[in-house]
Symmetry: C2
Subunit: 494 residues, 2 copies
């Protein structure tokens, strides 16, 4: 006889057990007492996951929970480790993780009001807070959705339907004029992907070059916009970035916004990473012009330090938020019109929709926006301090100054040098060094490709990282350089 | 001076506090000691959520957590309440909710292996378990994604790209032949929505009628397929349902699959709700033919009782799983080819991807597949018992026999009767009765529209619901009928 899976006493015991283990883990991760990434080869690790579907209940449930937890922790990357400087996943605020537990046990669906009264109300309050941070009026609105890719898809779908006045939705793209999407060469790959998904096709992408700081070149935008219009193509949107993925640069949003106004073009801003600068008193200025967006995507699970996934898709006008999916509203949803705003499934791809606003809401209620804004400031400061350190060293070169909390640089040992003929060797050197630093378990960084050159890339997503840790990274890179056993291995780009 | 948000001791205290409160809550919800839905009018409740962004930290963090938790619980719908018989959200297995806490604190991204070694390995193991349950060979594969809508989008995107051999992805839909999607009139609205999103347009939908049990009519499919082909349209996919949303019916999957084989057409099965019958020894037979799918969507957060969102998108051939998004793989991901399968972002829309497999994985490791399968059996049994009860009553009529755990029926009081002339009055009666039953706080059910008639709809998503609770619902409906103060109100359809 196996125990009742719903037994509240079982939940109580397992719950306290998990909290206790996670608290102990958090302590050791913050102190850097575990390898930041206990690196394993995928195929080798896979051998531990070959077991068949477990048919029977575990003999000892608590022991099984403990075993699973130890295994998962032992094979994870530790984002609270001060040496974590890698991809754009933050060291989460622990209270936001607890909000996820609440959300999961209640399992309310924030798609319609009656299935998540608190969940939908919280989402709408959070959306208002975010819109106010952008500087928008009461007419602004938006939704939360499952990640930045889906956020960009939702916003660009609204733009597509808006541009074609709904014809694309009803008759498909075969009927209308050729469409175009103007995107910087530094935009995240999901923007181009979205063109593929939405049926515009990758060929609809018009790539706009960027300047030496990886910011979109507005004069090139003007030229290419003209050219696109002359070819008889309808521009669905001009896409700007508030914090590009590779370098964290901010496009000249104000100039772009002015241009879009002039041309009556939809201005989409992918602020997945950088819109959170709005919470930082010191760095808010970086987002200047963000209020000119027709649609804005902003990940809470990046620089507002909540667990994945929670992305805001914001619009200056409520009606835009209905452009993506609302076509079928009339027959699906029978509520009184003034209550439709509370049935969020009208405006998101999700039909069952996790209550996700609670993660940010609880963190803000407990810690306050100032404290969270200070965490943003801290990581942005840190990138600037790191840039200063690197510039003082003869064997490092920066791709560009730090715009946010991302810094790309290369290690250029004297014995290789930086001549054109050594480009390939220098690229390989970055990959090798990166691989060896990561394997050491003391730091985690990634690499990226900028203008055909490989760079090391740090994203400072853990406010507990210090300047000392960054000095340690510089030492670790030099040690890796001196290390004898070279092994070519590539790892993952961003 | 506010406390350090990352302090492990703070997490420990808050964690134990939240677990304790949730365990107490779970106990009372299971015992039905709270109203299943403490119904509030959206606009009235919104008044509690008008506060501005909290700038400062709470004076007393624990008190603030307690306040927030009490507010959220007090305004939620309680899926563990035995009177919960509404939308397709389950009473979650508590241990699966704890898995979400683990996932959230670690915040590993199961998009690439190094960012979630355990997370990606767990996902691949879970996918293998699910494919094996379908009866597929080692060549099968798939991914987990954020919900059934996104799952259907992913599968149909693969079908679209497959049908156009990648041309749709590159050149857009404007270039190719007209496309069509053959879908039953009972398919979930997200399938038609997907046609809008993917650029096929709603007009590309060819609706196939269903029989008296709401199962797709195969002879109509054959006829309409022929007609579509004669019109020069290319069929992207034929879509079947394993458990339709409204009535839980299973399409004749075997016949449909045979037909698709014959025509070399992509056979997509939306098994969001019903594919979990594969876990039930007693009801597995309902899914006969599911193994003929070219793509299959299956929500764990419905009938496998995990929290939202975790949807499997499965394919009989691994290569199909790369058809949706893989076009850009070459330049984005630099791993060795044999390791690409572990970088799941190649095959999902998500780029940051929550570690979600752990919810099902931990539940299976602790409780075993048999126990979870028995929960499926229990809810399917319950719907059959409820059907038997209703058929014995003179004032109730069924829309159809119970196919899974969903039952649609109407209350037909003698004073209204069931004549054609009373159709509208009878429709309104269902809505009124539903509203009053829900407002009582003892039961929660929904309504749906079938062939232009309004039905009451119960989805038995809580294995703790008993036959006594269903008898109670019958009594409650009759009481609501007798209740004097009629108020017309519509509520939400499914």
């Amino acid at each position: 006889m196996h125990p009742d899976p719903y037994d509240p006493e079982l939940f109580r015991r397992h719950g306290h057990q998990v909290v206790e283990a996670l608290a102990t883990y958090l302590d050791s991760a913050l102190a850097g007492q575990v390898p930041v990434l206990p690196l394993r080869a995928p195929l080798e690790l896979a051998e531990q996951y070959q077991g068949a579907l477990p048919l029977d209940a575990a003999d000892d449930a608590e022991a099984e929970v403990a075993r699973c937890l130890a295994q998962v922790i032992g094979q994870s990357i530790h984002l609270h480790h001060p040496g974590y400087m890698g991809h754009q996943l933050p060291a989460v605020l622990p209270v936001a993780a607890l909000a996820d537990l609440i959300s999961s046990l209640l399992n309310n669906s924030a798609a319609i009001h009656e299935m998540a009264q608190a969940g939908t109300q919280i989402e709408r309050q959070v959306i208002r807070w975010l819109c106010a941070a952008v500087g928008w009026s009461q007419d602004s609105d938006g939704v939360l959705t499952s990640g930045g890719s889906l956020g960009n898809l939702t916003a660009l779908l609204a733009a597509r339907n808006h541009a074609t006045q709904g014809a694309a939705w009803r008759q498909g793209l075969r009927a209308g004029p050729p469409l175009a999407l103007l995107v910087s060469d530094q935009a995240h790959y999901t923007v181009a992907r979205t063109a593929g998904v939405l049926g515009l096709g990758q060929d609809a992408i018009v790539t706009i070059p960027t300047d030496s700081c990886f910011r979109l070149d507005v004069s090139a935008l003007e030229r290419l916009y003209r050219q696109t219009a002359q070819q008889g193509k309808k521009v669905v949107a001009i896409v700007g970035s508030a914090g590009t993925t590779a370098t964290g640069s901010f496009d000249p949003l104000h100039e772009m916004g002015e241009f879009c106004r002039e041309k009556n073009a939809w201005f989409h801003i992918d602020g997945s990473h950088g819109a959170s600068a709005l919470f930082s008193e010191k760095y808010r200025g970086l987002t200047e012009g963000i209020e000119l967006a027709s649609s804005l995507v902003w990940d809470m699970h990046k620089m507002l330090f909540t667990p994945s996934l929670i992305t805001a898709v914001l619009f200056p006008h409520r009606q835009y938020s209905y452009d993506a999916f609302s076509q079928e509203a009339s027959y699906l949803f029978a509520r009184r019109p003034e209550e439709a705003d509370f049935d969020l499934a009208l405006r998101t791809l999700e039909c069952t929709k996790r209550t996700m606003g609670i993660k940010l809401w609880l963190a803000l209620r407990v810690h306050g926006a100032k404290a969270i804004g200070e965490l943003v400031t801290k990581t942005f400061d840190l990138a600037r301090e790191f840039a200063t350190l690197l510039k003082a060293e003869p064997d490092f070169e920066l791709a560009a100054e730090a715009a946010s909390n991302i810094l790309c640089f290369r290690h250029v040992p004297l014995e290789i040098g930086n001549s054109e003929s050594e480009t390939k060797r220098l690229d390989e050197h970055q990959l090798e060094v990166r691989q060896r630093v990561v394997a050491s378990g003391k730091h985690f960084l990634v690499h990226t490709v900028l203008r055909n050159k490989v760079y090391l890339r740090t994203t400072l997503m853990n406010p507990r990282t210090t300047v000392e840790d960054l000095k340690g990274l510089i030492r670790a890179i030099r040690e890796a350089d001196r290390s004898a056993d070279l092994q070519v291995s590539t790892g993952m780009p961003t």
